[in-house]
């Protein structure tokens, strides 16, 4: 391709992807420069035709375009034994979850991709998974409750420790600390001899067996390796690389694990993404999640409708839900809010607070019976002087 043609494509008002497609299409083709101009103009014309006209009611169209196919969704696809026995909420419940901007999805999951050094080898992938999957103490050895001496004896199995790439000393250090910090149980003491991989736990109050059993429960279940929120990790091979699927999500801690490819790893917890990666990442997550939830059910919705919804949700710099506690509930206009839900309360509060309605939105103007700022209602006419010599 000639440099001036290249410059013309680059300077045209086309989206990046269309420019890319045009380039690959023209690659290696013999065309004259007038033919090139013709092609470019046709492409620009076609692109202009796909654009939305000014004053179009895009919100209504988006609502209908997502709403109508939404009626086709199965209402009760609650759980679906999907990828490797990990439960993921799908279908309508998941879509509602996304739009409601819940703090925590009902089934948080992560898809963890690995760095080049780890992704090809099953054993190395497993190594990473040990670092991530929450493992309770009882998986690392025998725990016996010695009722005679009022103590709990933990014998660590060094073979297991070796297999899971963790030093017994690290477990001995972590176990009592985690019981205190994570499980908020402090009424115990512990002893180690420093040589054998053994810890002895004793309740502070040795009057009753209840304390002993309570402590035993904590000792058994304390997480000594991995990330607390991640209950299960499944390693799967997909298109030539090992990928970790998790039940539970903790983006921040997973990013700290060695071998994790932070650029591709993803979670379905949108509010977590917005906190850790920022609002733009959250916007993309909303788009991806909503689109994949819909297409999973065989429903094809144009991305632009979903992008509009995602933009509205993220506009204020934080993820806001659609509905009472988010976009609809925090509108500027009193009448608009009152038209949505709990009418009387909104009107009463507005009256008490001496609120003023600017009548700038659509809903307010419909209510008072004025032309709305949409379509022909948003066009302002002015006189154009007649051309001299005509008529």
């Amino acid at each position: 391709m000639l440099p001036d043609q290249e410059a013309k494509i680059e300077g045209s008002a086309l989206p990046v992807k269309t420019r890319e497609q045009l380039r690959t299409y023209l690659e290696g083709k013999e065309i004259t420069s007038s033919q090139f101009d013709q092609i470019l103009n046709r492409v620009i014309d076609e692109y202009q035709k796909t654009r939305i006209e000014a004053c179009e009611a895009v919100g209504i169209i988006a609502a209908q375009s997502i709403g109508e196919p939404g009626t086709q969704m199965t209402m009760r696809t609650f759980h679906y034994a999907g990828v490797a026995e990990i439960n993921v909420t799908l279908g309508l419940p998941r879509l509602i979850e996304i739009m409601d901007a819940r703090k925590e999805p009902s089934t948080p999951t992560m898809t963890i991709y690995l760095e080049p050094d780890y992704l090809g080898d099953r054993d190395r992938a497993r190594e990473v998974s040990w670092q991530i999957e929450a493992a309770p103490l009882h998986e690392f050895g025998d725990i016996t409750t010695d009722m005679e001496n009022m103590q709990i004896v933990v014998h660590l199995n060094t073979a297991v420790c070796e297999k899971r790439k963790i030093l017994p000393a690290a477990i001995i250090e972590a176990a009592p600390r985690k019981i205190r910090e994570r499980r908020h149980y402090r009424d115990f003491e512990f002893e180690t001899d420093g040589k054998s991989p053994t810890i002895i736990f004793m309740p502070k109050n040795r009057e009753s067996y209840q304390n002993l059993f309570q402590l035993a429960e904590h000792v058994k279940n304390v997480i000594v390796q991995g990330i607390d929120d991640i209950e299960r990790v499944v390693v799967r091979k997909e298109s030539g690389e090992y990928i970790l699927y998790t039940e539970g999500s903790n983006l921040k801690d997973v990013f700290d694990v060695e071998g994790v490819d932070t650029t591709r790893t993803r979670t379905n917890n949108i509010s977590e993404i917005s906190q850790i990666l920022g609002i733009e990442a959250a916007r993309n997550a909303i788009i991806n999640e909503a689109l994949s939830t819909l297409s999973e059910q065989g429903i094809l919705v144009d991305v632009r409708h979903i992008m509009l919804v995602a933009d509205m949700m993220c506009m204020e710099g934080e993820v806001k839900q659609i509905g009472r506690h988010g976009i609809a509930g925090e509108k500027e206009s009193v009448l608009s809010r009152a038209a949505f839900e709990v009418t009387v309360n909104h009107l009463l509060d507005a009256a008490v607070a001496n609120e003023v309605d600017e009548l700038s939105g659509v809903t307010e103007n419909v209510i008072v019976g004025q032309p709305i700022q949409l379509g022909t209602g948003d066009v302002k006419l002015i006189a154009k002087p007649l051309k001299s010599g005509e008529s």
């Binding site: 004053c55 022909t376 066009v379 006419l381 002015i382 006189a383 154009k384 002087p385 005509e390």
Partner: protein, 56 residues
């Protein structure tokens, strides 16, 4: 104006002009048509309607 009108702007311009014609405004073209809306449409096609839009 290099940019063309959107469909809403077209509708608004033709509508306004049709109203003027129906109320007896002098025509800007020679036509056999009777319906003011059709006359307005014809005038619009000839691009002689003395109305344009104000864009923000």
């Amino acid at each position: 104006m290099t940019e063309s009108y959107t469909r809403y702007e077209r509708a608004r311009i033709i509508g306004a002009r049709a109203l003027q014609i129906s109320m007896g405004a002098p025509l800007l073209i020679r036509t056999t048509k009777i319906d003011p809306l059709e006359i307005a449409l014809e005038e619009f096609q000839h691009n002689i309607i003395p109305i344009t839009v104000k864009r923000k």
